[in-house]
Symmetry: C2
Subunit: 151 residues, 2 copies
DNA sequence: CCTTGACCTAAAGTTAGGTTTAGAAATTAC
DNA sequence: GTAATTTCTAAACCTAACTTTAGGTCAAGG
């Protein structure tokens, strides 16, 4: 009941909408660092609600958990982040998001070209873009190639 | 050597850039249907190069394999797809892509608002958008909520 | 004919991001 | 003070999209 006892994991879960198991998992991934009370239970700061909200938003933008950890590492470790701190890392997110949008717009333009020519798989097809790193994660084929021009 | 013996799986792999194992996997998922030669080996049509190229492109757009199978089911089964057939299903892809882009643009606008206010996690924060289905697949938290206004 | 390389199947392994389970200990509620 | 919740850890399980492995078979070159 004392003011500075912090939130239990269940309370944090209710405040963020995350599952308790997800919060523990994020801790294992280094995204959040609670302290322990006398009985060994995790206790969280109120600022951690915001931290986890940020994690969820960044996931919507397609960041992996290691990437999010990286972004969060720019927050000050020694004090509660201020709105300015959050603003700073949000600008980084914005850059990431812009890049994803650009990639998709490029894909769309290329697809328009392909719709026009009906090709989809010719070597000259603009959808041949080996450098696209917008894929969700770890799977999928290596590159995009195609047919010989005839056929 | 005969004209209509079809491509062996290794040849198809080289033509598409996919791994042999991936092509077999796609078959198991119903994305491609080779026939078998006398010795039981898979043989593919030249049109399958294009089919697999389409699979790869659709994956870049974030479609799952079941979704891609669904899209491909609109191709004629009884004959080799024409450029017009491909054009028709590419237009469907285009719609899917447009929707993804719209979602990201909306997220970006909301993030801009949040950068402005420095909030990121207030209930009134526009990033609270439970209806976003643009997430890559099957994982991630349920909804986005936050902090009480103070703190 | 024989060897080598391509191909076969089935099953297990991989990564990301979690969830579920089991059994025990801490907290809270009455 | 006891019962009902929570929480704890560790390990197993889950899905998607593949890859790897193991133990054989097929096909092509010399």
């Amino acid at each position: 009941m004392a003011v500075s006892e912090g939130l239990a994991i269940g309370a944090l879960a209710r405040r963020t909408g995350l599952a308790v198991s997800a919060i523990r998992y994020y801790e294992a991934q280094g995204l959040i660092t609670p302290w322990r009370n006398a009985g060994g239970q995790r206790r969280y700061q109120r600022a951690d609600i915001r931290r986890l909200s940020f994690v969820m938003i960044a996931q919507q933008f397609g960041l992996t958990l290691p990437e999010i950890r990286e972004v969060l590492s720019d927050l000050p470790g020694n004090r509660t982040p201020t709105p300015q701190d959050w603003k700073a890392i949000s600008i980084g997110l914005r850059a990431h998001l812009d890049q994803r949008i650009d990639t998709l717009l490029r894909l769309r333009d290329n697809l328009d070209g392909c719709i026009g020519c009906g090709c989809l798989s010719l070597p000259k097809c603009a959808l041949y873009n080996p450098d696209d790193r917008a894929k969700s994660h770890g799977s999928g084929p290596r590159y995009l190639m195609g047919d010989a021009p005839e056929t």
